[in-house]
């Protein structure tokens, strides 16, 4: 096994390999480690190629003593453990990508965006379409660390559309996507790298789906679609049912709702909007906390669920139920981009349900599907994967 097989050529010059004469370090790597000449935390013996590769990629120095099968890693504490996910460092992200995709056909283009932002665009030449690559590269070149100033209404309208690229947190997903023709975009100002162009397949993929057999992946798709439908339509459905289609609710349950709403200050439609807005506002606030507090994010979700459960008692069974389910469903969607889109779109569905009940919801679902069928990012249709025959 050669070191070239483990590390991309562009990184080789950053590594130090020190072949030492037998006299300098006598004995096997284990003997050297136990000899006490070097502080134990600085030395690690590795006997597997993977551990050696991980150590070298994390910046440690590797020492191989001729004649012995093991190697020494110098400079680290315990055996280095690489993060298994992407970060905001472009080079680290590229290294992670290569680690999972040792494909000689991987190309990288370095682009300097607006304001000096350094971006890297990676793709597999045999899989990606040239016009898509060019479009993504042009888009990366227009990237800027500062978000452009624009009126709030325009920003709101813009967020109605799907984003052109989807965040990717797990290298295995990125590797699998690149082999299907997607383009990997990394830049220092991005929290996580992106995969372009956005497609429905990418939005519905989970972080660890690459490890699943294809048949299981297809099966897993259906509960996710159901979760998307629930997140999008549940509040609207409840509005439609309580405002237009009372016959849908079972009689005893209906009377219980009527009983609980005798002294309600707001109509139920307004309550649904208020609850949804409060939930979204709290979640948006949670996005602004720093990295150090990122570990708190799951707890915020739990807190919101508890608040939702309390709302069941205060506002009534329906609105509380809707808010709890909405929080849970949103947080379990596989893609953050999809979660954001669902969060915004559901207000429109709630408005349509408030206007025309189930009929209005149906019409808007149809319009949404037309949009999904027609939207194109980087000359590629949203509805198909890049390697699909249809377009």
């Amino acid at each position: 096994m050669y070191i070239h097989d483990l590390v991309p050529p562009s990184d080789l010059e950053r590594l130090v390999l020190a072949p030492l004469a037998p006299g300098g370090l006598a004995g096997s790597p284990n003997d050297v480690a136990r000899s006490g000449r070097f502080p134990a935390p600085l030395l690690t013996v590795v006997e597997e190629g993977v551990a050696l590769r991980d150590g070298l990629l994390s910046g440690l120095t590797g020492v191989h003593i001729a004649g012995y099968p093991a190697a020494l890693l110098i400079g680290g504490g315990r055996a280095p453990r690489l993060e298994s996910s992407f970060s905001s460092d472009t080079e680290h992200n590229l290294r992670m990508l290569f680690r999972h995709l040792p494909d000689p056909g991987v190309n990288i283009r370095r682009v300097i965006g607006t304001g000096g932002v350094s971006c890297a665009v990676a793709f597999v030449e045999s899989a990606a379409r040239p016009e898509v690559v060019q479009a993504v590269t042009d888009w990366a070149g227009r990237m800027s660390a500062q978000e452009p100033r624009m009126p709030l209404w325009r920003a709101a309208l813009g967020s109605v559309r799907l984003p052109p690229a989807v965040e990717c947190t797990v290298p295995t997903t990125a590797a699998a996507a690149l082999q299907k023709g997607y383009i990997f975009v990394a830049a220092d100002h991005l929290v996580t790298p992106l995969l372009a162009p956005t497609t429905l397949e990418l939005l519905l993929d989970g972080p660890h789906d690459a490890a699943l057999p294809p048949a299981v992946r297809r099966l897993v798709l259906w509960p996710r679609l159901f979760a998307v439908a629930v997140g999008l339509l549940l509040a609207a459905f409840l509005i439609a049912v309580t405002a237009y289609h009372h016959s849908l609710v079972p009689g005893p349950f209906l009377v219980a709702i009527a009983s609980s709403r005798q002294n309600a200050p707001f109509p139920i439609v307004l309550e649904m909007f208020i609850v949804a807005f409060i939930g979204d506002a709290a979640e948006a606030a949670s996005m602004r906390i720093g990295k150090a507090q990122l570990a708190l994010v799951p707890w915020i979700g739990v807190t919101l669920a508890v608040i939702g459960a309390m709302q069941v008692g205060i506002l009534g069974p329906l609105t509380g139920f809707a808010s709890v389910v909405a929080v849970v469903v949103r947080d379990t969607l596989p893609s953050r981009a999809l979660g954001r889109t669902v969060r915004i779109w559901r207000y429109f569905f709630m408005a349509a349900a408030a206007a025309l009940g189930m009929y209005g919801m149906t019409l808007l679902v149809f319009a949404a599907l037309i949009y999904l069928g027609e939207e194109r990012f980087f000359a590629h249709s949203v509805r198909f994967a890049p390697d699909s025959v249809a377009s």
């Binding site: 237009y244 079972p250 009940g357 009929y359 019409l363 149809f366 037309i370 069928g373 249709s381 377009s391």
Partner: protein, 372 residues
């Protein structure tokens, strides 16, 4: 831009979904009226007969990738025949789509929102349908292909929710009961297979239409089986002669389905799936007609035909003065002779084209992009 490409499976799923939604509103009652004795058998036989009538058309097109019915018409009788085909077939599609829109809006206004103006319900449905047609053909067909699954699911749940074991004796079998009347009334039932013509129009987008005949057989087979099941169920739930009085047959069946502890009387959910189906069928029918006009008249883009055709659909929808008039118009006027247009005309064109086939196909005179 390149011509949109669709898979054969997408196409037959579009055709299947259109076949299912075509018949959902009045078919059970209309079929019961047509045969009055052995409707399920008549439907099964008519499906076979319809497929046989249409098979030469798809078989001819399946051998020539990139060609559609208008190209066949040009071969068969030149540009005038192509224009006549577009006008006749387009007229039928517009008429049946208009009646379908009328039926859905009547159901919405009568059964769900009695105080809503009917023109509002009608125009809103036509607006989204036109939106779908105005999308690119690839996008419109993709959207249309999504709705076969909710339609099949809706049929399944209606069957399960209304099945009463032991009620089969309400359904009169064929043997010994009006075999001749059943046989005589098969042909009008084949007019419900008009979505088959979509295959002849959209097949231009398929990369290799080699399996077109098989896809047509799948679409007809599944649709006919579903129709027969719904008719059988309908005659169990609303036996003749009382079943002829029901305004919206399958909707009324859905009103009997009790969902259980958390949902009951799930008819509003059926409006959900049927409005889907109607909007998708409307947009596909409009798209097919627009493409026919584009090819026949040499328009640069199919979207130029969408607005005038939408206006025509609305006019047809308002044409009958009441719901009973709409049902009678569809059953006795449109569907009684529709098979001549939707099956007879393409068959005649295919036969003529075979007789007059030139050694090499002439490229069509239209020069524009289909997906501008």
């Amino acid at each position: 831009m390149t011509r949109p490409r669709i898979s054969p499976r997408q196409l037959w799923v579009v055709v299947l979904g259109s076949l299912l939604t075509t018949a959902f509103y009045t078919f059970p009652r209309a079929a019961a009226m047509a045969t009055s004795t052995a409707a399920p058998w008549a439907i099964l036989l008519s499906g076979g007969l319809g497929f046989l009538l249409f098979w030469p058309v798809v078989a001819k097109l399946a051998r020539h990738p990139g060609k559609n019915l208008v190209d066949l018409a040009v071969i068969a009788g030149g540009r005038p025949l192509a224009i006549a085909t577009a006008l006749l077939l387009g007229g039928f599609f517009i008429g049946s789509a208009g009646i379908s829109v009328r039926q859905v809006s009547e159901m919405v206004v009568t059964a769900l929102y009695p105080h809503t103006p009917q023109t509002f319900a009608m125009t809103s449905l036509v607006a989204v349908g036109a939106l779908g047609a105005a999308a690119s053909p690839g996008g419109a067909i993709w959207v249309g292909s999504l709705f076969v699954w909710p339609m099949l699911f809706a049929i399944g749940v209606v069957c399960v929710g209304n099945l009463g074991w032991g009620q089969f004796r309400n359904v009169i079998p064929m043997s010994g009961h009006g075999l001749l009347p059943v046989a005589l009334q098969l042909l009008p039932l084949t007019s419900y297979l008009d979505p088959l013509v979509y295959m002849a129009v959209f097949c231009r987008f398929i990369v290799t239409p080699r399996h077109l005949v098989r896809q047509a057989a799948y679409a007809v087979g599944i649709a006919v089986a579903a129709w027969a099941a719904v008719i059988l169920l309908y005659q169990m739930v609303f036996p003749l002669p009382g079943g002829l009085d029901v305004q919206f047959p399958v909707f009324d069946m859905s009103r009997l389905v009790q969902g259980g502890r958390y949902l009951e009387r799930i008819d509003a959910l059926w409006v959900f799936s049927w409005t889907f189906g109607s909007a998708s069928r409307l947009s596909i029918a409009l798209l097919a007609t627009a493409l026919l006009f584009q090819d026949a008249f040499g328009l640069p883009d199919h979207r130029r035909a969408v607005l005038p055709l939408t206006t025509a659909i609305l006019s047809f929808a308002l044409f009958p003065s009441n719901q009973a008039g709409a049902v009678n118009f569809e059953t006795y006027d449109l569907r009684q002779w529709g098979f001549v247009l939707v099956l007879g005309l393409p068959l005649a064109i295919a036969v003529l084209a075979r007789i007059r086939q030139k050694k090499a196909w002439q490229p069509p005179e239209t020069g524009g992009n289909l997906d501008a």
